[in-house]
Symmetry: C2
Subunit: 224 residues, 2 copies
DNA sequence: AGAGTGAAAACTGTTGACAATTTGAAAACG
DNA sequence: CGTTTTCAAATTGTCAACAGTTTTCACTCT
């Protein structure tokens, strides 16, 4: 049973993190992993039984997810896992591109030597993954790489928006594993981004980051 | 007493809009109008008495505002009206600039003839406000103009983000009335934006919109 | 007088119960 | 046989009470 497991987590983490945030993370996980498919209603009773908490925290968690774009609420009908159209997904890619561009431009002006080094090393590590054909690990590092850029750019809201849009788009995109070639192209673009940041060339960094995300959009679109 | 008023709204709108969203809008209003100053705790008991609802809807509304960036929650201490630092405000201006740039670029490619005409007329109307020295009205039209652009760009999330960032920045900015000269400069920039959209020149529209927001940031910064 | 202590007050976190609404299926009707 | 009506079950919306935490403030001890 899931209950005991969650209840345990509940007890240990109690009064540090509220049940609401715990439920929020759990629901987010369930949604992003497809456990709760698009369009599914978040049945409060059922969830409260499964997660071992009352309906209050679940409702609050749903509100949090609503603003994050992962669920949509209808009055008197509850919250549903959001259904993303392709058009909406494309829009999200564009918005993410714009924000990533800004983040990289900022980073080009702000980044310290150690930060630059960190990013260089991440790209090199991804290169190793390509030659070793470790696609899953490349995928993971790629996510970390981009989130880290948003984080290092210094803006809290920038990071929030970037990761939030990333989660949102994952509603539709079932983990696109790309094949060696595609990874190689992708990482070449990473190198351009990191290179521009290293040179302190904000305009170039911005352009490279935007183009990278736009290319990502195209790659994703091609898989449909 | 406020209670009767709110209770009335409650009864009339009941089961159409949930109490949560009503409370949300009311709280948002109170925050943006400075009725609840930055750093104030949203006392659930007090608010439930004033608004005439129980604490549940208030908690949920607070969660909505949390994701919108208007309040920040601390475990076991509740929700506080967010305190925006100048650095954060500058970041918000930049993000908004990036999104506005994207929206205008989209609009340059998508806008219909009537939409172009609508925007031209808004700018002309603002011009009239300047010569008539109706600053308040100009201020109002300016807000509508930008929100309308975001709306016409077609992306739902784009509009959401743009308006959300706008509200967030208002936490700090007490309505900057700018004087005739400043309005004139501002509206000249509007003309550039509209012109580029009219020409279908996405790159120019984007650049003009971004620059306009960056200039807005500078104007705001100068008033400190 | 000032720092520490401890209980009481105020508040948030959570719950279970009740009210209102929607949904789905059986029954009534054409 | 298909359509409408009605009613019960399921579900969301709201509330008030209880549990746990933080804050306040009077009191003690040095």
């Amino acid at each position: 049973m899931e209950i005991s497991n969650d209840t345990q987590a509940l007890v240990s983490a109690r009064r540090e993190r509220s049940l609401t945030t715990i439920v929020r993370d759990r629901l987010e996980q369930m949604i992003l992993q497809g456990e709760l498919g698009a369009g599914t209603r978040l049945n409060e009773q059922a969830l409260s039984k499964v997660l071992g908490v009352s309906r209050g925290p679940i409702r609050e968690a749903a509100r949090l997810l609503e603003r994050e774009g992962l669920v949509a609420s209808v009055a008197n009908q509850g919250a549903f896992v959001r259904q993303l159209s392709i058009e909406e997904a494309l829009e999200l890619y564009d918005l993410r591109a714009a924000i990533a561009g800004y983040a990289c431009a900022q980073l080009a002006e702000r980044a310290s030597a150690v930060e630059k080094r960190e990013m260089r090393e991440m790209v090199e590590e991804m290169d190793r993954c390509i030659t070793a054909e470790e696609e899953a690990r490349y995928f993971e590092l790629n996510l970390v790489f981009h989130d880290r850029i948003a984080e290092l750019s210094g803006g809290k809201r920038t990071l929030e928006l970037y990761t939030s849009l990333g989660k949102e788009v994952r509603l539709l995109r079932r983990r696109v594993l790309r094949g060696t070639e595609s990874m190689r192209f992708s990482n070449e673009e990473h190198k351009q981004i990191v290179g521009a940041i290293q040179d302190g060339d904000a305009a170039a960094a911005r352009k490279a980051a935007e183009q990278h995300h736009i290319n990502g959009k195209r790659r994703w679109l091609d898989t449909l």
